[in-house]
Amino acid sequence: MSSASRRDFLKIGVAGAGAAALMPTAGRAAGKSITMLHESSFIPAFDAYMKNTIAAAYQKATGVEVIYETTSVGSLPTRVSTITETGSGADVTMDILLTPFLFDEKFEDLTDIADEVGKKQGGWYDVAKEAAVVNGKWKALPFSNIGQLMNWRTDWFKEVGVTKFPDTWEELYEVGKKLKAKGHPFGFELGHGFGDNHGWMYPLLWSYGGHEVEADGKTVSIDSAETAKAIDFCRKFFQDTMLEDCLGWTDVSNNKAWMSEQISCTNNAESILYIAKRDFPEIGKVTDQAMNPEGPKGRFHFMNSISHSVFSFSPVKQEAKEFLRWLMTTNALGDWYNSADSYYQPLLHAYDNAPMWDVEPRNRPYRDALATAHLPGWPAPASPKLAQSVARYVVVDMFAKAASGAKTPEVIKTAEAQLKGIYQA
């Protein structure tokens, strides 16, 4: 190779690098591209629909390109932390559970859009406000709940004479005892996963009347007779109906156990039915879903909130807001929900009787559960302190320790000490 051609090569290289460095800046300055960060969906068609259809439709309508970037399951909180710390990386982000309360200072106020969406789409569910309003401002636009419900094997329940899912925790316990004796134990996660543990333990606690903190968000209230009753129930529920392995489970474990036909009942999102129908059709046929059982103080569900926020440092925040406004008020929203069956349950009443609920009627309990769903830490408003309690597995470990044999007052005492350290610091 001659020196001249090497020089040419260098020239091209330098010019190319320069252009590459300049291009995104130019594009962004003109407000032509928005990066939307999302956690990879368990339903691949959902991500594909946004990438290929919605983004393309929006670009055609407005000229603004939407770059839909997915991040692996479980890594979203870390990505959002990095983006807020460095002030760059995305313009819109998906929020999971408590994200709006941790990053509210770096999120735009979306109150006007939320009001407009609510008016046009039949109004918001109460729990949507619980999940997105921080200090009176909508810091996120609620998108959905990924509900956690009871998944049960109809064929095995039938073997012990049960054709309708038990209505109370005590009734479920009685059925579970019989099923375990027949070699079909229950399997509820009691380990350190992200969602399938909190998903049933907070509702269990609430349904016996217990809560970790008062509505003021400061007074720790875990030490109560109601909490003790919930713990005593959990201990016998685990010991008499479940596999020992549940204590060490993470979020994938119950899905694995379900598909390998080890368990007859668990608490999971709708993905368990979706995967069973797709990959194990015989199991899919005998899988059904039901709302959580009722306790002495009512029936409760877990709000595993999904929403969208706009970073206040984004150079295209106005364009990002307009995109969310368009997404949430046009047919695009319904189409996006449809692409995932009903894995994502809308928090807008306009979708209460949408055709998405007819595709798989076994998913309807997820819609019905929204009225009694709450964020963990309820009745206190969500806060960074609650995020600490969740990240440290305070409530999960309180139940899990009791399940593995520790005494009720002892586990409550430890949880109370932890919660006081968090809420009263």
Partner: protein
């Protein structure tokens, strides 16, 4: 006269000599060595020094993610000391590191001694031994996850075959077994590092020493005890030092396999710090937990370095 005048003229023109003196200056060992060190030092300062100092600063602040921090002195450390889980985590980390390091040291030495023998396909076996070390931790941990699942576990199948009632032990559900499991996996992963490094050390031992010892009537054990072990000692210490640091700060294995569960039985400093810093967004408090690794490691490093200097 003219011959003598030349150097004099040269002295009178320092500008001409400057390049030569710069070259000479650069050629000086003290300058050249620093020059060579400059780049790595810059790297260390940027990639280790800065994060380390920033970590210390963070640990002294109340610094929620996405918010400006306020200086709180040692408050985060006081909070840690009042946290019952923190002490559990400290005990876990010491047990995990201590037992795993000991197992790796003994196992690695045995492995090196075995690999030092002559046998067929020696080189292939030596290369294969490195596999656990080469495979990305996350991948091998997922494989272990399947092997420890009661329904699919080869271990449980074997135990059930030997007469244990179904479904066999719950390796990750029982707190004690979960700790044993992560120690075993860490040992499996770290053994090749010990084995190969000690093997390299073994091969530097001059055969004459063994011959002399044999002539003096030393038994196999005595040759190992009085020839092999003393000569391997510096390498064992260095490997142990590295291994302790890696094991003490282990994250991936626990994060993938148990996420610290059940009931924090396998929670280590690194995973707990991550949960608090990233999960709960309390960067200051998380940094303080992570920094608690420092005193123990620093003491160990100083002790081992002193020991090596003394024996050196």
């Amino acid at each position: 006269m003219t011959i003598r005048s030349e150097p004099l003229i040269g002295v009178a023109r320092p500008a001409r000599r400057r390049p030569a003196s710069l070259a000479a200056w650069l050629d000086r060992e003290s300058v050249f060595s620093w020059l060579m060190m400059a780049l790595p030092l810059l790297f260390l300062a940027a990639l280790v020094g800065y994060p380390f100092c920033y970590g210390i600063l963070l640990s002294l602040m109340n610094r929620p993610v996405a918010q400006p921090g306020t200086f709180v002195g040692l408050q985060n450390f006081i909070t840690d000391f009042h946290d019952p889980v923190f002490w559990r985590v400290a005990v876990n980390t010491f047990v995990y590191t201590g037992v795993a390091t000991l197992l790796k040291m003994v196992g690695g030495l045995c492995l090196a001694l075995a690999m030092n023998q002559n046998f067929r396909m020696k080189n292939i076996v030596r290369a294969l031994l490195l596999l656990p070390f080469i495979v990305p931790t996350v991948l091998s941990t997922v494989a272990w996850m399947w092997m420890l699942d009661p329904a699919f576990s080869v271990v449980n199948r074997l135990l059930i075959g030997l007469g244990m009632p179904r479904p066999g032990p719950s390796w990750l559900g029982n707190p004690t077994l979960a700790m044993i499991s992560i120690i075993v996996i860490n040992t499996w992963r770290g053994l090749p590092f010990y084995g190969i490094t000690l093997l390299a050390g073994l091969q530097t031992v001059p055969p004459e020493l063994y011959e002399a010892a044999t002539i003096d009537g030393a038994s196999g054990w005595q040759r190992f005890r009085y020839v092999t072990l003393p000569l391997l000692q510096p390498i064992i210490l260095i490997v142990t030092l590295f291994s302790v640091i890696f094991t003490f700060a282990d994250f991936q294995l626990v994060y993938v396999l148990t996420h610290g569960g059940p009931q924090n039985a396998t929670q280590l400093f690194a995973t707990y710090a991550f949960d608090i810093g990233m999960g709960a967004g309390q960067l200051g408090l998380g940094a303080s937990v992570a920094l608690m690794m420092l005193p123990a490691l620093a003491l160990l490093i100083v002790a081992l370095t002193l020991y090596m200097r003394r024996s050196g």
